[in-house]
């Protein structure tokens, strides 16, 4: 049996595509992130590490 004949009629089409799966995963949790991934332009994002001594590899702050 070919795979095509096995899958024929199972109503699969696009549903096995990773992009569809990813979308379904995220929507199932009622989440709608504004960006697909956290990639930024430029190195300085104003976070605690960017604004620290450039030699520091880790910056940690206590919060309440």
């Amino acid at each position: 049996l070919s795979l095509a004949s096995l899958t024929d009629g199972l109503g699969l089409a696009r549903s096995s595509f990773p992009s569809v799966q990813a979308q379904s995963l995220i929507r199932a949790l009622n989440l709608f992130p504004d960006h697909d991934v956290n990639l930024i332009d430029g190195a300085d994002a104003g976070d605690s590490l960017s604004s620290a001594d450039p030699n520091k590899r880790l910056v940690e702050k206590r919060f309440t």
Binding site: L10, L31, V37, L39
Partner: protein, 427 residues
């Protein structure tokens, strides 16, 4: 935190930290993490939690599973009396790069496999323990769920390898726990139809028809092995036909918890997470600057496509032989990473104690004198089927999940005698 007074601690007592780490072997990646000191003792073990997806942020678990607090409808925080920080110094990391508040300015930092993911986590741990040398001697445990069934064995093996090679700071790795995880796809994909039939999600006719894809799926996964590339992508497409076919027949079923239906396309409502973490005051508190919060990343999910069907079970026997504990647990109503598939790979795993583990009896896992699950264990290996829970065990059964963590880290998980009886026995 409106119910802080009930928690028995004051704000000043809470050691809550947020930080960024510049990933060493990257172009420009920075990893965000949250660290909650134990509400018990500083000597409690250090536990790291990894959220799956792949591509979902660790904050999902912080606020909806086992973190110190959850988010109320008015976006205030409510104390979680069963947070895992009751028994551990608890770490959550947004990983792989690109999820949550972890970010990079260079797209080459997006990870495609467990080699990249585990090295980033290992580098982070080294930096974390350098920052907290007082915690470096504590017992260390790796935990997580779902796709973390891939991350966890790879990360545990990386830590173990680093320790053996005397790289950097010695990490006192005592165990790793996988909750409703995807670890050995060949076995777990084959189990989908059996679980679905057992649970009445599909008919016998559906079962026989869908099972015709199992053979090609197995062949494709075999070709993928532990380090395949194109064959792994092919097996993703072939094998997901099994899962998609079941879902197509099951209607609006919530595949994380088959007792529930999904309303529209929504199975859960975690939307307060995005609302809460995008507030200016919260962002300022966490020190995330201009970085947006990406709750789950499409791109990271797709970047891990070649990794999906790889078998991560292969690295586990070495860890067991060296005395590192493994707990595999699974909520009984999850379909996507169901208990049956997990139980089968755990039983099929070849290690020196396999025969004894297979022969070991199932015993009740008692919490408050009622059966919260069924446990099998031998030596360093334990398998726990958790009752009345879906994919997210700490969300569905918070008390049982905390009890599981406590007993497992304290080495008393397989002691089946209920607490009062134990006291009488000791008297």
């Amino acid at each position: 935190m409106p119910n802080l007074a009930d928690s028995g601690v004051s704000v000043e007592d809470l050691g809550h930290h947020a930080g960024y780490y510049k990933i060493e072997h990257s172009y420009a990646a920075k990893m965000f993490y949250l660290f909650f000191e134990s509400r018990g003792s500083k000597k409690d073990p250090v536990v790291i939690w990894l959220t799956g997806g792949p591509g979902c942020s660790s904050e999902l678990a912080v606020f909806y599973e086992n973190g110190p607090f959850s988010i109320a409808d008015n976006l205030s925080l409510v104390w979680n009396q069963y947070g895992w920080d009751q028994a551990s110094n608890l770490l959550y990391v947004d990983q792989p790069t690109g999820t949550g508040f972890s970010y990079s300015s260079d797209k080459r930092d997006i990870r495609h496999n467990e080699y990249g993911v585990s090295n980033d986590l290992y580098d982070f741990l080294q930096a974390f323990f350098a920052e907290h040398p007082n915690l470096a001697k504590n017992d260390f445990y790796i935990t997580g769920e779902s796709y973390a069934g891939h991350y966890i064995p790879a990360f545990a093996a990386r830590v173990h390898r680093g320790n053996k090679a005397k790289e950097g700071i010695h990490i006192n790795l005592k165990g790793f726990a996988i909750g409703n995880g995807l670890t050995d796809p060949a076995i777990q994909y084959k189990a989908y139809t059996d679980y679905a039939l057992d649970m009445g999600i599909i008919t016998k006719t559906d079962y026989e028809r869908i099972n015709k894809v199992v053979g090609p799926c197995e062949v494709a996964i075999k070709l993928c092995g532990t380090d395949g590339t194109v064959s792994c992508m092919a097996s993703y497409f072939v094998c997901n036909i099994i899962f998609s076919s079941i879902i197509a027949r099951a209607g609006n079923i919530n595949y994380y918890d088959i007792r529930k239906q999904c309303v529209g396309s929504l199975c859960y409502d975690f939307s307060n997470l995005e609302k809460f973490l995008n507030q200016k005051s919260v962002r300022a508190s966490l020190g995330v600057g201009d970085i947006e919060f990406v709750s789950c990343s499409h791109t990271v999910y797709q970047a891990m496509l070649l990794d999906w069907m790889r078998n991560l079970e292969v690295g586990i026997p070495t860890l067991l032989e060296d005395g590192v504990k493994l707990l595999v647990y699974a909520g009984e109503y999850d379909l996507i990473c169901n208990w049956l598939g997990n139980s089968r790979w755990v039983h099929a795993m070849e290690w020196s104690g396999q025969k004894e583990f297979v022969a070991s009896p199932e015993v009740p896992f008692l919490v408050d004198d009622s059966e919260a699950g069924v446990l099998k264990s031998h030596g360093p290996l334990s398998f726990l089927k958790v009752h009345n829970a879906g994919h997210m065990v700490p969300m569905d059964q918070p008390k049982a999940a905390l009890e599981m963590l406590k007993r497992w880290t304290q080495g008393t998980l397989s002691e089946t005698v209920a607490e009062p009886e134990k006291l009488v026995a000791q008297m």
